[in-house]
């Protein structure tokens, strides 16, 4: 059962990911990205991270991507023009990407032990209780500081938006 689920959603994720990259229309990319996020959420469930899965949907799909779509709709962003800038990116981009993927895969294969397998349900530590405990004890300071960061982001966004308005 596990491999089927994994392969299914991994396939969805990869296909959507490719769509994000190849599609020239922002909306399509955005929706494809939502697809990636959704399938990742399922994978998180398989990895026993229920809360993160839910948070993935709420935060990424429910909030961040909504923002993106808002902006796309607001600016009515159409298909992108074919501009011929950045010769360099097109020159060294592809080989580098291949190299990147190759190296990382190699490292993964080299480092991760063969016997390391993921079995659905064999680890269910990702409960809200555990996560909450970790966040409010071990990671209390980072958490608080993050709240400050978010506040700053809010203020910054509002300030910029005001300027955008008038």
């Amino acid at each position: 059962m596990d491999p089927i689920l994994f392969l299914l959603f991994a396939a969805i994720a990869v296909v959507c990911g490719i769509t994000v990259v190849v599609q020239t229309h922002p909306i399509t990319s955005a929706l494809a990205l939502i697809g990636v996020m959704g399938s990742l959420a399922v994978l998180y469930l398989l990895l026993g991270a229920q809360f993160i899965a839910a948070a993935q949907v709420i935060v990424y799909a429910g909030a961040i991507m909504v923002l993106f779509i808002f902006v796309i709709m607001l600016l009515n962003a159409g298909r992108e023009r074919k501009t011929r800038g950045s010769f360099l990116a097109r020159l060294i981009g592809p080989p580098l990407l291949v190299l990147l993927l190759g190296v990382v895969t190699f490292v993964i294969l080299a480092v991760v032990p063969r016997d390391a397998v993921v079995k659905f349900g064999s680890y269910t530590g990702g409960t809200v209780e555990n996560l909450g405990r970790a966040i409010f004890t071990t990671y209390l300071w980072p958490f608080e500081i993050t709240s400050v960061l978010v506040l700053i982001a809010i203020v910054g966004a509002v300030a910029l938006a005001y300027k955008e308005l008038d």
């Binding site: 909306i27 929706l31 939502i34 229920q50 809360f51 899965a53 839910a54 948070a55 949907v57 709420i58 799909a61 429910g62 909030a63 909504v66 779509i69 808002f70 709709m73 607001l74 409960t127 809200v128």
Partner: protein, 395 residues
């Protein structure tokens, strides 16, 4: 009995019931509003227009499914499906009743119980905005676009107070699984008063409940928050360009959302399937009594109704009495009483929705936003803080 088979059966039952409910919810709404406005409402298609919904459905099915020029075909078609799917998904974690035993089978009256059920529902409801946004955007027409922007803004704004209110109940019930949340409300104060989260010590969630209800009114784009489809200014909002079955899709989605949120409210605040007073005080006979009463009323009003209604009303009366009798059978009682309570509570909430629609005028958009941000949100936060404080101190 096979797990999958059981699951399939349960799913089939739930979806079937839900679909019928959706159909007849519209009928009920039309009737109730009609009577609020001193009209008869649907009357001619079947007795008291009971077949009206089916007629409507057939009409929508047979209408031409036209695709306006210049729309973004893919998303235009995707949108309604997205909407209805998302609105149906979250019903799967709603607990309709306790564990029941039919012969060898022991099962819960619930499709599945996630230990993050509440968050799951919130997550899904945070996605419902996409259906609307896509519909509005892909229609490539200004009213839908405005309607979509409005409704999504509105949904996002009201999701915060919603989440806050829900969080407060979680503090009381100390779990995210809807089933457990209901079970934690099963106590009785003084042996007779229900310990639902609505009345739960140390801090009864009265405010939370009110906030929740108002917020879901906005979430479901219902009156008085139905600006997205404010016909006076936006024609029909995001689904202006839609027709036939796709339009029906949005329609169903809206009602499905209503059902879902009322079920949520029931489970979170009104003790789900738990009775209003303990079984020791004969709450098991409440359904029988209720149906008997309804049957009595029907027959009585049938007796001095006009000729045409005389028959139908008394037939209904008879049916109700039959159901009442059914509820007196111990086995059936054991199975259906919790279900009765759940549906009764949900039904009352749905009636509230309809009643409000028949009563209140529509907000202006800025009023809506100001209300959401500068009243609902602070109150919800305060409610959450007080609850947390009291739970920490007392609990």
């Amino acid at each position: 009995m096979n797990f999958y088979l059981l699951a399939v059966i349960k799913a089939a039952v739930v979806v079937g019931v839900l679909m019928i409910t959706l159909l007849y919810l519209q009928w009920v709404e039309r009737k109730v509003i009609a009577h609020i406005q001193v009209r008869l409402g649907p009357y001619n298609v079947g007795a008291h227009g009971l077949l009206q919904p089916i007629a409507d459905t057939l009409k929508l099915l047979t209408k031409e499914d036209l695709l306006p020029p210049g729309v973004n075909r893919f998303y235009f078609i995707l949108a309604p499906f997205l909407a209805i799917t998302l609105s149906l998904v979250s019903i799967s974690v709603i607990p309709f009743g306790p564990e029941i035993h039919i012969g060898p089978v022991n099962t819960w009256l619930q499709l599945t119980d996630l230990n993050i059920g509440v968050i799951f529902v919130l997550a899904i409801s945070s996605l419902t905005v996409y259906g609307i946004v896509l519909a509005g955007w892909s229609s490539n027409s200004k009213y839908p676009l405005l309607g979509a922007l409005r409704s999504s803004a509105q949904m996002i704004s009201y999701e915060l107070p919603l989440g806050m209110a829900v969080a407060a109940t979680l503090l009381l019930s100390n779990s995210l699984s809807l089933r457990k949340i209901v079970e934690t409300q099963s106590a009785w104060y003084g042996g007779f008063f229900p310990a639902w989260n609505l009345f739960r010590m140390p801090f009864p969630q009265v405010f939370g409940f009110v906030i929740f209800v108002i917020a879901v009114f906005a979430e479901t784009n219902r009156v008085p928050f139905d600006l997205p489809e404010a016909e006076s200014e936006l024609v029909a909002g995001f689904h202006t360009e839609y027709s036939s079955m796709k339009f029906a899709g949005f329609f169903m989605a809206e009602y499905a959302n209503m059902v879902t949120v009322t079920c949520m409210a029931t489970a979170l605040y009104l003790g789900g399937w738990l009775p209003l007073w303990p079984a020791s005080m004969g709450s098991n006979y409440a359904p029988a009594a209720a149906f008997a009463l309804a049957g009595g009323i029907c027959i009585y009003s049938g007796l001095q109704a006009r000729k045409r209604d005389r028959l139908s009303l008394s037939v209904f009366g008879a049916l109700f009495l039959l159901v009442a009798a059914l509820f007196l059978i111990p086995v059936v009682q054991a199975l259906l009483v919790p279900l009765f309570w759940f549906l009764a509570k949900t039904g009352l909430l749905l009636l509230l929705f309809i009643w409000v629609r028949g009563t209140l005028p529509r907000f202006r958009y800025d009023q809506l936003m100001r209300f959401g941000w500068s009243f609902m949100f602070p109150v919800a936060v305060a409610n959450l803080l007080i609850t947390g404080l009291l739970v920490a101190l007392v609990g």
